[in-house]
Subunit: 204 residues, 2 copies
């Protein structure tokens, strides 16, 4: 009677600090997630190791995997492909381990379609909740600047609609604590626990 | 822009250790919940203080409150009423504080009707998940004993259906950690956070 793992997807606007939060999570001693290594067609930088930092592939190999539907999500940035191999994710989840992805928002959208039951966490800039006090307290901003900020904030808030949780990245440590709490809580969700108990009874 | 507090309801089968878990939660230095003190018609025991351990009321007063719909939930045990005053709960939630109730399952059912948005946590006996290994490893049990246990387990699992989360009381400390994580996670739920952000934008 083994419970399937959780697919944990951390995403958010570019520049919000997803990579820093992910590194801190995996630097913590009690983290029990498996990190899904991305695949890319870009050249390895000095010190980067195949299978550790990325799986490095040729453009032909990558496009072959796209055709075979072997990528959970992928995107092209500045002429290079980046993506998440789906087999590793499925096998690790089946083995009862939680898998952690840190990806861009477009990628998260693709993952949601394939794994609607995943746990989607949006990392939000603290600027969002600071916005109000900044607008109120600073009298130096022009109406145009304020308007631009409001529009940007609106776009970010709309982006959130895809997600289950929003974690503010006020400090890296606090954001990591919240993400850890969310994963613990999700493992306690009644649907999940009671399905496990029911299965146990049926098997006896 | 103040966020409403969460109503946290801890319940579970009698004898599971709800009171012990609740005491440990409130003994922890970082607990920021308000504990809702129950009301009762039973006589104070030695050392019990009105307004600390319980609000002690006469039978007439209690029945008056029932008629005025001033109780969030109530029940009668061995000739005495026990209940949760609703005004304190509403006012504390409105003030943005989380309120914690530790009540019997019948009470939890009444609260769910009045506060469907509450956070309902079922404290489960570890015997439930130990059941399988016990059945498999011990050859000494009669079929009748096993059957009785399975029936009891089924009833407890059905009880869970009302709840959002199930926390196993394997150790008091672990159960309290999980409850703490659940509350943190709930405060990060997207609906809750994005509603707050949206309200902030509208107010500017």
């Amino acid at each position: 009677m083994r419970e399937k793992g959780l697919l944990i997807v951390l995403s958010g606007p570019s520049g919000v600090g997803k990579g820093t939060v992910r590194k801190e999570i995996f630097a913590r001693p009690h983290t029990a997630f498996e990190y899904s290594i991305s695949m890319t067609t870009r050249k390895p930088r000095e010190g980067e190791v195949n299978g550790v930092d990325y799986f490095f592939k040729t453009r032909e190999e990558f496009e072959g995997l796209i055709k075979q539907d072997k990528l959970l999500e992928y995107a092209e940035f500045v002429g290079n492909y980046y993506g998440t191999p789906v087999d590793y994710v499925r096998e690790t989840l089946e083995a009862g381990k939680d898998v952690f992805l840190e990806i861009e928002v477009q990628g998260a959208r693709q993952v949601r379609e394939k794994f609607p039951e995943g746990l989607f966490i949006f990392l939000a800039p603290p600027s969002l909740s600071e916005l109000q006090s900044r607008i109120v307290t600073r009298g130096t901003e022009t109406a145009e600047v304020i308007q631009r900020r409001m529009t940007a904030a609106k776009e970010e808030i709309e982006m959130m609609d895809l997600y289950d949780y929003v974690v503010e990245n006020d400090t890296v440590a606090a954001a990591c604590d919240r993400i850890g709490a969310i994963v613990i809580a999700e493992h306690c969700r009644r649907e999940r626990v009671s399905a496990r108990y029911k299965k146990m009874l049926e098997e006896n």
